[in-house]
Each structure stands twice: as C-alpha cells, then as structure tokens.
C-alpha cells in the first residue's frame, strides 16, 4: 500500500459522522506500553531498538486487524511522507522526526495505528468519528489483549504499566477528543473553555498546525492523570461531565449568535465565502480559519435551523463532482475534505512532488475555488 492510496481522501474519523459530530469531531484513545526485559528507548542501542521493532512489528502484523494492514518504516520514509503521516494524525511529530529504527502499523482504515519506538516501545491508538470514547476503549482493549497474549509488557503491581515518562505511568492511557469551537471564539468566550479545562486538570492543544496553536478553532482535549484511576472512569468523566459541559458552552454560544448576533454570523460566513471563492493565493492557516466559518454556518443551519443570506448561498452551491451529497448544497464532508486535503503535505503528495510555499498557496486556492464554484 502506498500513501497516495489514502492521501486523496479524508480518513474515517474525520468524515463528519458519529454522535455530536457538529462539535466533537472525533474521539481518540492511546495506550503506552513497553516490553518487559528491555531498557526504555533512551538507553537502547540501535541494535536493541531494531530488535524491539522487529519483535513488535511481527506481532502486530500477525494480528487479525482486517485485511488492509500496512507498515511504514518511519526512519526510512521521505520527509514529505513523514509530514503527511503527522498531518493525518497517524504518527506524532516526535515519532516522525525522532531517531533510530522506528515504524508505524496502520490498520482498519486508519482507525488503528501502532507507533513502534516512539517515546515508549509501543503506542497504540484508536480513532473514531464523533463522540465515541467507549467504543474506542473497547476496541483498544481488545487489541491490547491480543498483543499481550504474544509478549510480556513491563508492568509493576504498584505502578502499573511502566512508561519511559512518569507522566504516562499506570494505565498509560491518553483519552482525547477533538473539538470544533468556532462560536465560543466568535463571541469572545473561548476563555471560558480554557478555564473549564484548567479546573478539570485537562491538557488542551490545537488539532491542526504546530504546537498549541488552534488553527480553524479545532482543539484537542486530553486527560493528564494516568495513575490511580480506572481507564473506564476516565472515559466516563469525559462522556458524562467534560464533553457535555463543553458542548453546552459551544451550543450556548451558537444560540447567542443566533438570537442576538445573526449579522455577525452572516458577515463572517459572507467574508469567508468571498475570500475562499476568489483568492488566488491562500495559506494553510487562512484556509483553516475561513473554512471553520463555513463549517459553523452549515452546522448551525442543520442543528439549530439558522438561516441567513450567506447560509442560503452555501446551500445553492452544488458541491464538487465527487461529493456524494452534492445535491444538498455544500456538505460538512466537503468542508472536512477541504480542511484536510489542503494541508501542506497532503497538497504536495497529491500533486506528486514537493512545492514551495507560493506554489502550495496557489494550488490550495485553486482546489478550494473549484470546490466552491462548481
């Protein structure tokens, strides 16, 4: 399997489906594990890392994870491929640009990935569209059990699963949800979200772009405590308390826009449309920022019945020829596809060769124009 086989479309967890998908884009759970009898990676020689990689790769490739399971040798991958894997959330930046023998196993239409020799020997993750954390936990536990049947994990009765960094100790679990919070940002209340996350001891970072920057109003929210708490309890906290609270904030902000700031919403969507339909050069950051407003417009129309002249214009668009929902105007799937396919590495991989920034900006603008003007 080649990366270009998947680069021309969005992955399953970003297809706009799943519960609460207008706000909760996707759910993700990852487990950090190390093999018993081996040092942690920082103290491993290249030969030892190769041995771990070989062992884990062979176990993972032998699992019954469906027919489309493939392996990428990250240390040997081209720079563009590494950027693509990071953009696609299949590997971490740390894994892409780390050192030594390392790889990634991808299966189940990108909903399962296993990074070998990242910070820990093994990091497995399951991603699902919308709010589906319980489903993620069930699936990842099943795969973790299958792996554990074939090898021994480093485990201590006192500290649980032993991880290279004490911050992952115990369950080794990281539960995350990707959220789209444009209305909170628009009405100037995103601080409320940050305060809530601080109070609940959660980590926040941007979903796209580098570092903590939340391009396109996409945020990733994760637990920080991994020791002394049951995996199921962390998931329950997210499902019963954290997600409902944040969703309520964003919905209240959307309702406020609808009730008293409809002109602001209409203006934002109109401006976004005008720029996206006409720009000849557009940066990745600007595209994410503007597409975020279109996504908000469509979701507010579909979930809250919002109608403004700009939203009506969105529905007169027929959508691109390859959009299955083209008859209903611009769909969330189309917007999501534009979000992902116009990211720098996606653009270049689909174009067939590396491009400089100006050429990327021109190509991005062209793809967006053709999707919105067709």
């Amino acid at each position: 399997m080649k990366l270009t086989d998947i680069s021309s479309d969005i992955n399953e967890w970003f297809d706009g489906s799943g519960p609460l998908a207008d706000i909760v884009i996707s759910s993700r759970i990852r487990l950090a594990r190390n093999l018993a009898g081996y040092k942690f990676l920082i103290r491993c020689s290249v030969a030892e890392k190769s041995e771990i990689l070989k062992k884990l790769k062979s176990v993972l490739m032998s699992l019954e994870l469906g027919d489309k399971i493939f392996y990428i040798s990250v240390d040997k991958a081209a720079a563009l491929d590494k950027h693509f894997l990071v953009e696609r959330h299949l590997i971490s930046r740390h894994h892409a640009f780390g050192k030594g023998p390392r790889g990634v196993v991808i299966a189940q239409r990108e909903s399962f990935t296993a990074m070998i020799n990242e910070e820990d020997h093994l990091r497995i993750q399951v991603l699902k569209a919308g709010c589906q954390l319980s489903g993620c936990l069930e699936q990842i536990n099943r795969i973790d059990d299958m792996i554990e049947q074939k090898l021994d994990y480093a485990f201590s009765p006192r500290y649980g699963y032993l991880t290279a960094c004490p911050t992952n100790l115990g369950t080794g679990i990281r539960v995350s949800v990707m959220l789209h919070l444009p209305a909170l940002k628009m009405i100037g209340q995103i601080g409320k979200f940050f305060k809530a996350t601080r109070d609940m001891n959660l980590a926040v970072r941007g979903l796209f772009g580098e570092g903590t920057e939340a391009a396109g109003d996409f945020y990733q929210l994760s637990n920080q405590v991994t020791l002394g708490i049951l995996e199921a309890d962390i998931v329950r906290q997210f499902e019963n308390t954290i997600i409902p609270e944040i969703v309520e904030y964003e919905n209240a902000a959307r309702n406020q826009l609808l009730a008293s700031q409809i002109d602001v919403l209409d203006d934002k969507i109109s401006r976004a449309m005008a720029l996206l339909k006409n720009a000849q050069l557009i940066s990745s950051q600007e595209a994410l920022f503007l597409l975020s407003h279109l996504r908000l417009g469509i979701n507010m129309h579909e979930h809250l019945g919002a109608t403004t002249p700009a939203i009506e214009r969105l529905y007169t668009l027929v959508g691109p020829a390859d959009d299955a929902e083209r008859s209903g105007g611009l769909s969330i799937t189309t917007i999501n596809r534009l979000f992902m396919l116009t990211l720098p590495a996606h653009l270049q991989l689909n174009y067939g060769r590396p491009l400089d920034t100006t050429h990327r900006d021109a190509l991005r603008a062209k793809i967006i124009r053709s999707a919105l003007n067709s």
Partner: protein, 165 residues
C-alpha cells in the same frame, strides 16, 4: 584552667595552632583574647547556635538527593541527573531504584495518586492479580462514595469483604 597570659582569670578560649608541623596550644581568658585581637563572641544565642549546627548537617532530602545523585542504575546505567535532563527514565527498574526521589513528582503529576488501579496484564500471577483487583475495588468504592452512589458503594463493599477473606 587559668589564663596563660594574665594568670588570673579562667581560660575559656582554647586555641590550637599548627605551624610548620609544630602544634602549639593556647588557653586564655576572654579579656586577654580581646587584647590579642582575637575576636570572640562571648555568648551565642541558643537559637543561632542550633540553626548554625543544623545548617552544617544536610537535611534528609539533601542527603537523599546526594545519595540518589551518585546512584547509577545497575540495569541501564541511568542516573537521576540524566532523568532531570531528559525527563524520561532508562528502564522499568529506575522506578524502584529512584522511588523516593520520583515519588513527589509522580504524586504531583497524578493528582496525589501513587499506585495503579486499572487494567492488569492477563498473564499476571493470580496472587498479584487479586491484590490489584482489591485495590481497584477500593478505588471504585471511594469514587462511588464521593459521587454519593451508596447503592453501588454497598455492592462494592460486599465484593471487597468477599475477596478479602
């Protein structure tokens, strides 16, 4: 003992000097010491004395730090100094070896928690498994009580009693 200079007052200052390998001792009174230009504080308050004594003795934490600083893991060769630099450990045994130094950090990172409750590898020996399961149940009981779910708490308490037998 009388002052070696005035031969009158009691000698309260005892000086030992070693020059060119020759050791000489001097026993003098405070008055003569002052005249000789030897500065002596006649009385040191007790609290000052204690604190100066304590300052010369390393605290438990300093001793531990110093001890751990010199420790190097027999399995991976890692030291605490390297952990401070890299923020990751060298092997699973480091958790045991550097436990006292790591524990405050673990506690801080995990909201005061210092022991695992949650998934256990299925290959774990039965006795160990039982112990961890009991820990898990106690943890669940605490959560149930905190959430005021007394029905669940009662069920969990019964389970704990049964397993504890």
């Amino acid at each position: 003992m009388q002052c070696q200079i005035c031969n009158k007052s009691e000698a309260t200052i005892h000086l030992t000097e070693i020059a060119d390998g020759v050791r000489t001792e001097m026993h003098i009174c405070e008055h003569c010491a002052a005249e000789q230009g030897i500065a002596v504080k006649s009385q040191m308050p007790i609290n000052e004395l204690l604190s100066s004594l304590l300052a010369s003795q390393p605290s438990d934490e300093q001793m531990l730090g110093a001890m751990d600083k010199e420790l190097s893991c027999p399995q991976c060769g890692f030291t605490l100094e390297q952990f401070r630099k890299e923020a990751v450990l060298g092997c699973g045994y480091d958790y045991e070896l550097f436990e006292k130094s790591l524990l405050p950090l673990i506690e801080k990172a995990h909201n005061g928690q210092t022991s695992h409750c949650g998934k256990i590898p299925s290959k774990t020996p039965t006795d160990t498994k039982k112990q961890i399961e009991l820990l898990n149940l106690r943890q669940q009981l605490d959560s149930a009580v905190q959430a005021e779910d007394y029905e669940l708490a009662a069920k969990l308490r019964d389970k704990i009693m049964k397993r504890g037998k």
